[in-house]
Symmetry: D2
Subunit: 345 residues, 4 copies
């Protein structure tokens, strides 16, 4: 294996607990085992386009393992959508004599990585999404942390619901995939779980709610932000406009809490967890997964195994083609949803 | 001290971490030291009006110390606003041979307790509000838990804000008093804290925000739900209507995030913490305070010292007249707010 | 599938976060989907031997999902080592008309389950060990919680180590397998991790410790309770005797901290985490895994698929023969240990 | 008030969550309000003796509020016990043109501060002890965090104790004062609490233990490390010797667990929490208190109000003479202990 390479690293897309753990592991192994130099690019793909760099040394990555977010910053920049973006990116890599890149990100970031591979830039990808919706890996880091935070919130809300005989709707992240809703709902003992994969019937939700009240308990409904009522998304349009004059699409959680109150006559409240789900210190699970990803990514770089993404399969870290990683969204299979549904009510 | 009394207990108003700790302490000491019998009334003042009872035995209060909410349930019922409410309440007390009542609640619940004292019902009050806005006690249980939860959320949001160079507005509880905002803002290192006690200037907020961005850090703004911009509450009215057709008063947090984005051109997001702040297991601080309140309340009952409320002064539990407890709201003094303001930006 | 069976359930061996989640899921699905009756046996295998029962109803399993330990109690009783144990066990099952048993436990409990299958008792097993050392499943519930708790402790200890320029040795659970040490060590950024699978050289440990101090940081050493120095276990014998007069085998953590202090001249302290690692509320990960195990176990029972154990493979729950489950211990493979070792120092 | 001073700061004694919050608050207010320069001295009093300095700028104190330990490092150095210690200390202060010192520490550190005041060095003290045993302040930061951590551990241990019908002894910090034991014991619902202030009878402890078992629950005993059985400390001497050949004084927790097992015939285990109690991120309560101490200390410096210590009285921060602060230990009053004792068993 060639040692002494110059390796660039960047983090793209939404922030995610565990990014710093990847940076630390790749940097430590890169420097102390492979004698590489590690160069951080700041703000996602904007970094190599604009030449925004920051060296990653042993001292720089000390003490970042447990910190959320990313010390490199992030962005949603796509170099293919910038004039001369790829040329400028290649010029930056040449200027800094970067031999290969580690790109840590979700669908968009890895999509760029995949394209760059075809355009002659040697890249290894590391999957990242709190939504857990990347198809080529069993789990992504950040997901366990998001589920952990949502579950803690559900635990807290349950005692309030019980004390006031109130329905509580908890809206969690998940625009296209319901993994966070499914897992936090199971972990929190939710009485209804609603996911984007399956339009929901408000009538059916209200039946579960009333069934629960009849048993003298209070219902908790966990709903993914991307879940849609059977009537369609238009039901969620509100009359409100934001400071820019745009009409808002109301959150499904708030809408559903109103509907439940109206139809069942019971008190009902919504809580929208929002960004707290993606920040802060990663769980131990995510730190281990992210660390292993970082260690394996720097090995793939060193072996010249480009165009690949590291991935979790069972308990093993494997490599899969980047093309496979971004081919399709991993949504909640109907049988997994049905498995949970027997616990509703 | 007379032993062997029959003591009724109820919890009123919004739920609050620590209520069960009060119930447990009062029940255990009542039974094992004073040989009392303890009778729980369910659903706040509705319990003695409707005769909803549940005995509190040693076994019933085992294992509830660490649980949020209240095993007695709660309500906002005011017996003085119910036809024959007081007569029915007295009849219930007579029927169950209740010698005296412990009423655990906030301004409203204790206001009823105070009136009942004048109407010949022997009551001892225990203060409860997560907002910490009762004047006669240094702190109320539930407040520390609310601050703890809000601070954890701020800690998590900070890494997201930094990673994306984004302003984050965190809306916390506090309709009339800004204690939760002040303490969680201080504890979370917020760059701006806004409280109901002082209308805020959006211009000034944006200055702090920009000052923070100039120093290459991302701003966190903590705002109490009751904080009002200098232009007045009307600014917060949205066009949206709820499922009942009522026009909504938009949350100040969301409004402020929009304003910051519009005025500074920076990305800005709002997170509304909501009910998670009042649920779940109490902090150690709140468990100790609630336990001590429970122990002292049952002593006051036993001594026949009615019309009083237990309260914290320094490190001591004292008794104050119920009238004093509900005389005025304890808001954040301007000098306490000014003390924090030097840390803004 | 036959509905309306009478299903017995028991929990054996050391307690483990997630046991109650299994009980809840199996009971809820058993009752509401399969119309079974569920009978809990108390105190592990002692329950069916002595006829200690407690019915598991929907109300009984309400509110237990998030609670650590087991509401059934546990024991290390082996019915094969009790006079007439198996006869009495069978008599109890007959008396209560129990059609089949779910046995939740580790190596010992499942070993009994396996034997009983051969002796004509229909059993389905659910694996349980915080040590994660059962071979037939990718993970067991309880393990993630133990790792989470150990990692939190390491996070806390790090700031103390740094403030005092001190080495800190953290002894975690794991008598025969080093999984908790490996994962919590990786998650906590430990500078040395020692596992039972590989005798350690104190000299080598001290080199890593000194290397760390030279870089102006303080070392954290995570050691599994079953790790052994190269000189052998005898090194750990102390002169101390317990209240029963037995000579104690000292903990490896305390011994190692002393050795480090003696050899390097640096301050060094040991912390033995002990039982806190196995108690309290399970993590979201463990609740989901335990819930899925419970759901699948009751299905296996209903299908009459006895002599099997539910197990996790990747993201799927599968069934494996009980014989396979207890065939051999799953220890940390040397390559997994080597993967972590590059981060030492 | 004179602005533009040069202010030295140091942290002495054992580390404590909240130290960094004091440093941050004093530095931020010192720089932005009073135009001071802030100079950190490293490793407690060793810093000004040896001239170990590190400037505290706005950037240096960014992001430290939530971190445990102290970025300045600490030591137990007493300059009065070093040859020429005071002369060298004064020389350092002169060399760096330091106008006044903020000394953050416990009894020893503040004792030196008090002496220095008499020797002409202008000092303001900030109290720090997780043990909460300083007499002149209602509470010290670090204490709430220690109680919080101990309480979490007790919560976890309770489910283990119940599952195995086992007595669990939890040894917490507190060599001379039982505040941590008292508060965590109350918060965790301990069935016995033992403090250094009152020698305990093993017989009486065993009565409570058996009473608890008779009620079908498992006992938790919280014992401060400095608690002593009625027979005296000698009972705790073990035969064991450490790596240096010194005979060990066994921990009271382990000893007591053995005694309980021997006398009651019940299973009994000890957990010694140790250093986890003093590390890691401070609770919100401690961050607020530490921040307020920092803000008030820099004001006292600016006003030239030397020889004072900031202190908490009720909800106010006040100043008290340093001499008062170190005059006597604040131990648990017998009536506070008796208040808790009614909950034993």
């Amino acid at each position: 294996m060639p040692a002494g390479m110059r390796v660039g690293v960047l983090t793209g897309g939404g922030d995610c607990p565990g990014l710093n753990a990847v940076l630390r592991a790749a940097t430590r192994k890169g420097i102390s085992v492979h004698q590489h130099e590690i160069l951080g690019f700041r703000s996602g793909w904007l970094g190599p386009v604009e030449g925004l760099t920051t060296p990653l040394t042993l001292d720089r990555v000390e003490d970042i393992l447990s910190r959320g977010g990313t010390i490199l910053g992030s962005s949603r920049t796509n170099p293919y959508k910038i004039d001369d973006g790829i040329a400028r990116l290649k010029a930056t890599l040449a200027e800094h004599r970067v031999d290969a890149l580690i790109a840590i990100g979700g669908e968009d970031t890895l999509g760029v990585a995949e394209q760059l591979t075809h355009d002659g830039v040697p890249v290894v990808g590391v999957p990242k999404t709190i939504d857990n919706d990347l198809d080529a890996t069993d789990y992504t880091f950040g997901f366990d942390t998001a589920v952990h935070i949502a579950t803690e919130a559900i635990d807290r809300l349950r005692t309030t619901a019980e004390s006031h005989h109130r329905a509580l709707v908890v809206e969690v992240m998940g625009r296209h995939a319901g993994w966070i809703a499914l897992h936090s709902g199971l972990a929190g003992g939710a009485n209804v779980i609603l996911v984007p994969e399956q339009p929901f019937s408000v009538e059916r939700v209200c039946e579960w709610v009333e069934q629960r009240f009849e048993r003298q308990y209070a219902p908790i409904i966990v709903v993914a932000e991307g879940a849609v009522p059977e009537g369609g998304k238009e039901l969620l349009v509100t009359g409100e406009r934001d400071a820019f004059g745009h009409v808002r699409l109301g959150g499904v959680g708030t809408w559903l809490a109103d509907e439940i109150a109206r139809r069942t006559g019971k008190e009902s409240r919504a809580v929208v967890l929002g960004h707290v789900q993606r920040g802060g210190t990663p769980t131990a699970y995510d730190r281990v997964l992210a660390t292993r990803f970082g260690l394996h990514a720097i090995d793939a770089i060193t072996e010249g195994d480009f165009g690949k993404m590291v991935a979790l399969r069972g308990t093993d870290i494997v490599r899969v083609p980047l093309s496979e990683a971004t081919a399709r969204l991993k949504t909640v299979p109907l049988e997994r949803y049905a498995e949970a549904e027997v616990l509703f009510g």
